[in-house]
């Protein structure tokens, strides 16, 4: 395939894909390969540096950091993926409606998009989570509720670039000959969109989706790092960092490992996005 050939030429992107795959594998099957409980409190082994018994050291309660990292990585990556799907879903929907409707609906939707683009994201994220945390806790349980809220809010504040992208694609694609041919053959508007326009506008959307996963992972980690994200008993990478930051002077390993994990994941995803852009979006030169 042409796209795959072009992706393969971006060596850093391929290397990043391998590293990211290894990390996903470790996070999925790690708890099987490293069967240590994440909440095994051992006061005789508090704040120890890396050793054979605890490859990433222990925290202030003597809990094994590696086990917590492997468990928390699942949540961090899952939140990133789910928030991306929310953002892409909303973005494609709004972009497609604006691109097909044109006229005043398009103008109104684009005004809304510009409005959302100038909202201060992180403060609003914090406010929304502060205001709605308690309802969702009652509705879906303390852990799941907060996670759903975080996913929806992060995704709900990230759809704008995708909507603009999809709208621009629709504007150029709906005038192309193959769509005109479908229209002439009597294809309904929804069939034109679903079968002809949408599949051809997916390239740039996939690139944006990749970058969105990285952005969502950073957003979730930021929330947890500020102590306002997931509840304390779910050790996502950002939460481990939050717990570790007060012990930076005598247990730096505790903060270094989760921080490095977030950085490495985000870096890999960004490089994959770069490679996908070369592969799927050949018009862009850089």
């Amino acid at each position: 395939m042409e796209a795959w050939r072009r992706f393969r030429k971006h060596r850093l992107a391929v290397a990043s894909a391998v590293i990211l795959f290894l990390m996903i594998f470790a996070v999925l099957f790690g708890p099987v390969l490293w069967p240590v409980a994440i909440n095994d409190i051992d006061f005789s082994a508090m704040l120890q540096g890396p050793s054979w018994a605890h490859p990433m050291g222990t925290d202030d309660l003597g809990q094994d950091v590696l086990a917590r990292m492997l468990y928390g990585g699942r949540i961090s990556l899952a939140v990133g993926l789910c928030a991306m799907f929310v953002a892409i879903g909303l973005g494609v929907l709004i972009g497609a409606i604006a691109g097909m409707a044109r006229g005043s609906i398009d103008a109104a939707l684009m005004w809304l998009t510009d409005l959302f683009l100038s909202l201060p994201q992180l403060p609003l994220l914090l406010v929304l989570i502060y205001l709605f945390r308690d309802v969702l806790k009652e509705w879906a349980g303390p852990e799941l509720g907060v996670l759903i809220l975080i996913i929806v809010v992060i995704g709900g504040l990230r759809w704008m670039p995708v909507a603009r992208l999809v709208r621009a694609q629709f504007f150029s694609l709906r005038e192309k000959e193959f769509v005109e041919a479908a229209r002439a053959l009597g294809a309904s508007q929804s069939r034109q969109v679903v079968r002809h326009i949408l599949p051809n506008s997916l390239g740039p959307v996939i690139v944006a989706a990749t970058i969105d996963v990285a952005v969502a992972i950073i957003a979730e980690s930021t929330l947890s790092f500020l102590g306002l994200g997931v509840p304390p008993d779910i050790p996502t990478w950002g939460r481990i960092l939050f717990d570790a930051k007060d012990y930076l002077d005598f247990a730096p390993h505790w903060a270094l490992f989760p921080g490095a994990a977030i950085f490495l994941t985000v870096l890999c995803i960004n490089y994959i996005g770069d490679g996908l852009r070369d592969a799927l979006d050949p018009r862009r030169v850089i």
Binding site: W111, L131, T222, F225, L241, G259, L267
Partner: protein, 319 residues
């Protein structure tokens, strides 16, 4: 020019209204009463609570409450902090300068790094310098600000003990020593925010310059014998800056997000750390006001970007 300015302000006003509407809707949709603490407090008798509700207009129709809330905000009557017992506008005005100084100096640092590096890399595309610069820029904007902040504290405060890691607003020194202490404690917050921005901006500048260098007018400028320096500064950079200004303006919300994190890590007494403290203390008036101020700042910077845009590209002003 002034006509252009007025038109831009008229365009900015609806977005400000829209943002205030979003904020108010969030507040109104939120379950429970933001002022419910008072009503639930057993020490407050029900009739007092009821009169408070009436005073705050909690039982009016929603659009009426919005109009009231907006006029109050515009008159600078931002309410009263539940926690510190101070008017919210006083609280914010105390802290806003610090935030603006930190954000402003970090943006300047970012531009000082990104402009030369981005231009130099784009003028020699795919050279060794370009490859190192793009890789570093990529790493720079993949590093989350909270991690860079902790790393800098670990290296420069704990290991080397060169810089203080807690920002103090009342430095006990006078004259030059006072400014030196302030400078020393600002280094880490400013560089955390600045280097992240520098990573993003370097990529913007590089790709904008790459788009411009191939154009005919650059060849013409070279052909008529201008020095390379003049070609780059007067012809390439000025034209490449036009898209960069837009992208910088679009980047502002992210900068404020970074500022919240940085202020929290280094305990900088700005409005970002005020927001976190208010959220942890359930101080609703302060939370809403700080968010509103952030939104206004974003709009303000967009306005400034529009003006810069008109200055860089004279074709726009006359339209």
């Amino acid at each position: 020019m002034s006509q252009y300015l007025i038109r831009r302000i008229l365009i900015a006003l609806p977005s400000l209204l829209g943002i205030s509407l979003v904020l108010f809707t969030v507040l109104a949709l939120a379950p429970g009463d933001p002022f419910g603490e008072l009503a639930q407090n057993p020490a407050v008798p029900p009739e007092v609570a009821a009169s408070l509700r009436e005073k705050f207009g909690m039982d009016d129709p929603i659009w009426e409450r919005y109009v009231k809330w907006l006029t109050q905000m515009l008159q600078g009557n931002w309410g009263f902090s539940f926690v510190s017992r101070v008017d919210v506008d006083v609280l914010i005005m105390q802290r806003l300068p610090t935030t603006l100084i930190v954000i402003g100096s970090s943006q300047i640092l970012a531009l000082l790094v990104a402009l030369p590096v981005g231009v130099y890399a784009a003028v020699r595309p795919y050279s060794l310098f370009d490859q190192i610069a793009t890789t570093l820029a990529f790493i720079g904007f993949s590093l989350p600000t909270f991690f860079t902040g902790l790393m800098l504290i670990l290296i420069f405060s704990i290991t080397l003990d060169w810089l203080p890691f807690v920002y103090q607003s009342n430095v006990e020194a006078t004259g030059l020593a006072f400014y030196w202490e302030h400078f020393k404690q600002s280094i880490m917050p400013v560089s955390v925010l600045g280097l992240f921005q520098a990573g993003v901006l370097t990529r913007f500048v590089r790709s904008a310059v790459l788009d411009v260098v191939r154009l005919d007018f650059v060849t013409t400028a070279r052909a008529k014998g201008l020095r390379e320096r003049a070609v780059i500064v007067k012809h390439i950079v000025r034209n490449a800056m036009i898209p960069v200004v837009t992208l910088v303006a679009l980047q502002m919300p992210a900068v404020f997000g970074g500022a919240v994190v940085t202020e929290q890590i280094f305990r900088v007494p700005g409005i970002g750390s005020l927001l976190i403290a208010a959220i942890l203390a359930n101080d609703t008036p302060v939370i809403m006001a700080v968010t509103f101020v952030f939104a206004c700042l974003v709009i303000l910077f967009n306005l400034i970007a529009d003006l810069l845009y008109g200055w860089l590209d004279p074709r726009i002003s006359y339209r």
